[in-house]
Amino acid sequence: MRRTVPLVITFIAGVAMITSFFVYEDTLLGQAASRVKEWGIIIAAFAVVLGTGNIIRISLHKAKRREDRPYKIVLLVCLFLTMALGMFLGIDKGIRATMFNGGHFEGEYNPFYWIYFNVQLPLGATMFSLLVFYITSAAYRAFRMRSIEAGILLVTAVVVMLGQVPISSAIGADKVMTWIMIVPNVAAKRAIVMGAAMGIASMSLKIILGIERSYLGGDS
C-alpha cells in the first residue's frame, strides 16, 4: 500500500499531463489537466512550508543532540526573526503594517528590508564571488597542453576570454569568440541537450510506468 498508492498517483498524473498537451482545453481531459496544473502550483507552495518545517525539525533535533548546537540555534533564531519581521512588517522599504486591533502602523525604516539588503544580499554575492578564485586555480591547473585536444581547449578558452574584454574588438577577438559560440559551441550543446532530453524522457517513462521506483526510497 505504501508503495502502491504513490505509484498509482504517479501513473495517473503522468498520463494526464502528457495527454493534456495533445487535447483541446475545452474537453474534459483538457479541463482536468488544467485543474491538475493549479493543484501543482498549490502543492509547490506547500512544499515551501514542508521544507521550512523539515529544516526546523531537523535543526531542533540536532540542537538537542548537541550536534553543531550554536549554529543550529543561530539558524533557528534568524529563521524565526526574519519570518516574523516579514510577516508583521511587510517586505517593502517602508513599513505599512496593519495592527491586530485594526490600526495602521507606518514607518520609513523596515528591519526586514535592512536584513535583506545588508545581510542576505552581500552574503549571497560573496559566496558567488568566491568562484573567481576557484576558476583562477582551476584554469591555471587544467589548461595545459598535454595533447592536441587539450591544446585546442586551451586556445579556445583563451580566445573566448579575450573576446569578452571590451578592447578585444580592436584585434577582432570578439568576432572569433562570437563564431566559436554560435557554430561549434551550439553544435556540441545541441547534441548534448538532445541526448539529455532523451534520457529525461526515458527516465520519465520508467517512473510513470513504475519500472523505476527508487525515488520512493529503497530498492527498485
Binding site: T27, G51, N54, G124, Y134, V193, I211, Y215
Partner: protein, 277 residues
C-alpha cells in the same frame, strides 16, 4: 464542453502535435519493446563509460586508504529527474561501499531528498549483508541554501578527507567550488550532471565526468537490471530515428527547392511538421 471528444482533428489542430504524438508513441514503443526483450533474456551491450567503470576502483581506493567515500546527490529537489537518477546510482555505490566495509557520507541539500537518501543507503547496506555497518549520521541534511550547503560539503571534505568524491545529479554555480576543493583535498573525483553549463567545471577539476545522458544511463550500467538496460537500448534506438529526421531536415533546409517540391506534391512543408506555431 466536449465531454467525450478527446481530440478533434481539424484545420485548426497543429499537424506538428500529431507528428509529436506519433514520434512519442514510437519512442515509448521502442523503450518498452527493448525492455521486454531484455527481461526475456536478450543480451544488451552498453559501451564502456569511463566514469562508471572507475566507480569500483574509486571505492576500492577509499577502502585501501581507510577513508570514506563522499557522495553528493546534487542540489535539486526530488522532483528533478537528475536527483532521481542520482538516488539510483547512490543505491549501487552504497551497496559497493557496504560490501567493502567503507563509510559513505551523503550530504543532502533539500529536506525531501534527505529521508529518501537515508533509506536508500540503509537498504543498500542491508542488501549487501551489512545492515550493522550503516551509520545514520553519515547521511546528513546540511542546509537548504545553495552556498551554505556548499560550505558544509567543503567542510566535510577538509575535515573527513574522503578518498573518493562522487558528484551525481543537478549542480549549479557551486560545482566548481566543490570540485576544486575536492581536488585540493586529494580525492579522486567522479562527476555526472545533465546541467550542461556546469560540465566544463567538472571536466576541468574531476578525474571522470559523465556527460548529459550518461548520468541517466548510469543506473542501468551499474545495476545491470534487464529492464533498465532495455530502456537504455530503446532510447538509443529512438535516437537513431531522431538522427535520421534531423538529417532529412538538414537536406530540406539546404536545398530550398526540396521544400517547394514537397509542398506542391503533398501540400505541406517539412518544417511545418515540427513547428507548433
Amino acid at each position: 464542453m466536449r465531454l467525450l471528444s478527446i481530440i478533434t482533428i481539424g484545420e485548426s489542430y497543429p499537424v506538428a502535435k500529431l507528428v509529436m504524438l506519433a514520434l512519442m508513441l514510437i519512442f515509448f514503443g521502442l523503450v518498452l519493446y527493448f525492455t521486454y526483450q531484455a527481461k526475456k533474456g536478450r543480451e544488451i551491450y552498453i559501451r564502456p563509460i569511463a566514469g562508471l567503470s572507475a566507480m569500483n576502483e574509486a571505492v576500492g581506493r577509499a577502502t585501501e586508504m581507510g577513508r570514506p567515500v563522499l557522495y553528493v546527490p546534487g542540489i535539486a529537489d526530488m522532483d528533478d529527474i537528475q536527483t532521481i537518477a542520482s538516488i539510483v546510482i547512490l543505491s549501487e555505490v552504497a551497496k559497493l561501499a557496504a560490501s567493502y566495509d567503507t563509510r559513505i557520507i551523503v550530504p543532502t541539500k533539500t529536506p525531501i531528498v534527505f529521508p529518501v537518501a537515508e533509506e536508500t543507503v540503509r537498504n543498500a547496506h542491508a542488501d549487501a549483508g551489512r545492515p550493522d555497518a550503516f551509520k545514520k549520521d553519515d547521511v546528513r541534511f546540511l542546509s537548504d541554501d545553495q552556498f551554505a550547503f556548499t560550505a558544509g560539503v567543503t567542510g566535510i571534505m577538509l575535515r573527513e578527507k574522503p578518498a573518493t568524491n562522487i558528484y551525481m545529479g543537478a549542480f549549479w554555480a557551486e560545482s566548481l567550488i566543490l570540485a576544486e576543493t575536492g581536488f585540493l583535498a586529494g580525492a579522486i573525483q567522479i562527476a555526472g550532471t545533465a546541467n550542461v553549463s556546469q560540465l566544463p567545471f567538472f571536466v576541468a577539476a574531476c578525474d571522470y565526468t559523465l556527460i548529459g545522458e550518461e548520468l541517466y544511463a548510469a543506473s542501468a550500467y551499474l545495476s545491470k537490471q534487464p529492464q533498465l538496460l532495455g530502456s537504455l537500448k530503446g532510447s538509443d534506438a529512438a535516437k537513431l530515428l531522431w538522427g535520421g529526421i534531423i538529417l532529412l531536415g538538414v537536406l530540406f533546409a539546404t536545398w530550398p527547392d526540396m521544400e517547394a517540391k514537397l509542398e506542391s506534391a503533398f501540400g505541406f512543408r517539412f518544417a511545418d511538421l515540427f513547428i507548433f506555431n
